[in-house]
């Protein structure tokens, strides 16, 4: 695992440090979008969902080619609040994302979606930890990776369920689409469970494009190259489909090169 930790010292970053806070007050419903554009910067993002609030935060990494970024996200979700966090690693060369989240009250829920859209020589790592320390909380952690060219990606997920955390529901999945024989992906989904009265699962799948899907598209006159492009776009579109704000979702799809047929 050690080799996948790209950065250990923020002194290596010459860009202006960024500190961002997103919060939803009690009972509020909020949406926030953060585009990460500053090359060579450390981003510290704090997210707080107050009791009975609903908060959605989309973080889109879009730094210049050849640059690096370190994104550290701390999440706290209070009783009966729901957080939907979507983290997209896209531009630049080296990117390290660390997400530490914790539940502070019963009924708290975290949905964490990540997309690593890795190509060329990019190195992307994402470490996500979800801590369930109290009863009746739930989480769903899903990280998707499209691995092209000579890219290298790693996912390290930890779901920790404490002794008193009865009736926790926690799910974790890592899905990797391999698009190059040279690309490397490492996947470490982990569960640490100290309570028997919980529902949990974790898994990881790594595959190439599905040949029967390719054949189906080809049988409709679409060339193999175009068909592969459509299938990759489909994968990326699915990965960001959880963004509830349509304008934001469409902007990100556009930046990811996803073309949509308009139907109105």
């Amino acid at each position: 695992m050690k080799e996948f930790i790209l950065f250990k010292n923020s002194a290596d970053f010459s860009g202006t440090p960024k500190s961002v806070h997103f919060r939803a007050l009690a009972g509020e419903s909020r949406f926030h979008f953060q585009e990460v554009r500053e090359a060579g910067a450390v981003y510290e993002i704090e997210i707080h969902a107050a009791p009975e609030s609903s908060l959605e935060v989309v973080v889109f990494q879009n730094i210049p080619e050849g640059s690096r970024v370190w994104i550290r996200i701390r999440v706290a979700v209070e009783a009966e609040a729901k957080l939907n966090l979507i983290m997209i690693q896209n531009g630049g060369e080296n990117s390290q994302v660390e997400i530490d989240s914790t539940m502070l009250g019963k009924g708290a829920r975290i949905e964490l979606r990540g997309l690593q859209n890795a190509k060329k020589n990019q190195k992307f790592s994402i470490r996500a930890e979800v801590l369930h320390g109290i009863p009746n909380t739930s989480s769903d952690l899903q990280i998707w990776c499209a691995a092209r060219d000579d890219s290298r990606s790693v996912f390290s997920g930890s779901v920790r369920i404490g002794k008193g955390a009865h009736h926790t529901e926690a799910f974790q999945k890592n899905r990797n689409l391999m698009l190059s024989r040279r690309a490397i992906v490492d996947s470490f989904p982990k569960l640490f469970i100290e309570n028997d009265n919980v529902k949990c699962s974790h898994g990881s799948s790594t595959s190439t494009l599905e040949p029967d899907q390719l054949y189906y598209l080809q049988s409709r006159g679409i060339s193999a190259d175009s068909a592969e492009g459509m299938m990759i776009q489909g994968f990326l579109r699915e990965a960001v489909s959880g963004i509830s704000d349509q304008a934001c979702r469409e902007e990100i799809q556009s930046k990811l090169g996803i073309l949509d047929e308009e139907w109105a």
Binding site: Q218, S219, G221, I222, M231, G234, R237, E261
Partner: protein, 247 residues
């Protein structure tokens, strides 16, 4: 003598080293509908996939000819552009690819020319209406979460949209309730004309009540065992395959 619209000449095919088709020969003239009936596991779907160029199916010998042009060595997309169409028994789901995007890309490829958005929508809407498909399907992922009947309706829509010279229907009637069977069959029958051909693979007579075949073939052991008129399908429905030698 003018050439047949579609011809299969002594086709031998293997799948992962195992021989499945053992010399299939067939001629479909313009305007004709042929039905292929046979027990499960006799190679009917292998024939359908092979005709459409599935890479897993290895043609050992024989030819596939459409309108005088040999297709045997062509890729699936090239066959589609020559106006051969396969309606799949189990169309795959492709998450994240919307039905509208897929149809637009396919139509452009098959026609070899861009289709203007307004024209595209008008074409699609007409077919949706005829097949009783809600317009909301256009923004859904291709075949994802579709019922068996919805998938078959979408296959039928594609056939009507792409206007192939020759259509191979692989058990298009399976998974359809009575109403869906009627709607799909009527749309297929409506598509039929004196220039086009169809090869209908089916287990049952019920679809053939709507799409009256000119010729019925009994398939077994990877080849055609018996051929006859529409009465052959009725006989099979009544008596099964026991009487057919080799079936």
């Amino acid at each position: 003598m003018s050439h047949a619209l579609f011809e299969i000449q002594d086709l031998h095919v293997a799948v992962e080293g195992k021989k499945v088709l053992n010399g299939v020969s067939l001629r479909v003239n313009r305007g004709e509908v042929h039905a292929i009936m046979g027990r499960n596991g006799t190679g009917k779907t292998t024939l359908a996939y092979t005709l459409m160029g599935h890479p897993r199916y290895e043609v050992l010998s024989g030819k596939i000819i459409l309108d005088g042009e040999e297709l045997t060595a062509l890729r699936p997309e090239e066959r589609a552009k020559k106006r051969l169409f396969l309606a799949f028994q189990y169309p795959v789901a492709i998450p994240g690819v919307s039905v509208a995007s897929f149809l637009r890309a396919s139509l452009k490829s098959v026609r070899g020319a861009e289709v203007q958005p307004a024209q595209f929508r008008a074409l699609i809407r007409e077919e949706l209406k005829g097949l009783g498909i809600p317009e909301s399907f256009m923004t859904r992922s291709l075949n994802e979460g579709f019922s068996g009947g919805e998938k078959k309706r979408l296959e039928t829509l594609q056939l009507r949209l792409f206007k192939p010279k020759m259509a191979v229907l692989d058990e298009t009637d399976s998974g359809l309730d009575i109403d869906a069977l009627r709607i799909v069959s009527e749309n297929l029958q409506d598509y039929r004309n004196s220039d086009r051909g169809m090869l209908v693979i089916t287990h049952y007579q019920r679809m053939l009540n709507y799409i009256k075949p000119d010729v019925v073939h009994v398939f077994g052991s990877g080849r055609i065992l018996e051929s006859g008129g529409p009465e052959l399908a009725i006989k099979l429905e009544e008596q099964g395959y026991e009487w057919v030698q080799g079936a």
